[in-house]
Amino acid sequence: MRRADVTGLQRSAPVFAALGDPRRLSLVQRLSADGPSSLVRLTEGTGITRQGVSKHLRVLEEAGLVRSARQGRERIWELEIERMQAARAALETISAGWDAALGRLQAFVEREP
């Protein structure tokens, strides 16, 4: 295995773990719908504290799914679109693998015994 693959590997595992929490998923959905947002705005209507939201954003940041930048007195959060797409593409490849395997299973069991 090439060195580059190891790096890709180590970076990919946390993505799905990070998205495994409904509150983090809803933060991702919010950033996706609203674009770059401040912590205050991301906390609105969530029913959890700013510290709580901040903690979830840090998990997403460690997985490479969001990034933040200071803008004046606020920190603005936004999605890392490419990282999200890479994660989804990997799962879709495996899903397509199952479709192909099921096609072969179907041909196998439906032909005369």
Binding site: M1, D5, V6, G8, L9, Q10, S12, A13, V15, F16, A17, L19, G20, P22, L25, V28, Q29, S32, M84, A86, A87, R88, A89, A90, L91, T93, I94, S95, A96, G97, W98, D99, A100, A101, L102, G103, R104, L105, Q106, A107, F108, V109, E110, R111, P113
Partner: protein, 163 residues
Amino acid sequence: MDSTTNVIEKRVTLKAPRERVWSALTNAAEFGIWFGAKVDGAFTPHTRVEARLVPTQMDPKIAAMQAGFADTPFTLFIEEMVPPSRFTFRWHAYEAAPGEPEPVTTLVEFDLEEAEGQTVLRIRESGFDKVPLERRAKAFSDNDGGWTLQGQLIATYLERAQG
């Protein structure tokens, strides 16, 4: 992106009796034919079975496509076998490199239901949040368009078989 990032689910109705489908899934030799694998040993609950990817015996055109990743080893950790309705195993489709931890497994579940002489098969693969996914995807996509192109070939194959 929704909560399906951790799970792949498929459902297909097969025009074959449930016992026939059960046999195709759980008889290691039959499994090898449609999946495209050479399996060493039989499937029995709570055992570990070694296998290698081999070109499918179903179609020469598809076999040619698969030649590029022939001999890739993988391990099946058989869990439940409840004939003729439920078969589950864990697996990982890549080898750990030296110094890399033992690869994490995903859980594959096959559930079979009878429907007027036909069989409704549901497949669920879960646990991707724990797995270095790019590795598995890579195993299937390395070969010139890999599984996607293969899927198209299979559609053609099925149409031809029915026509």
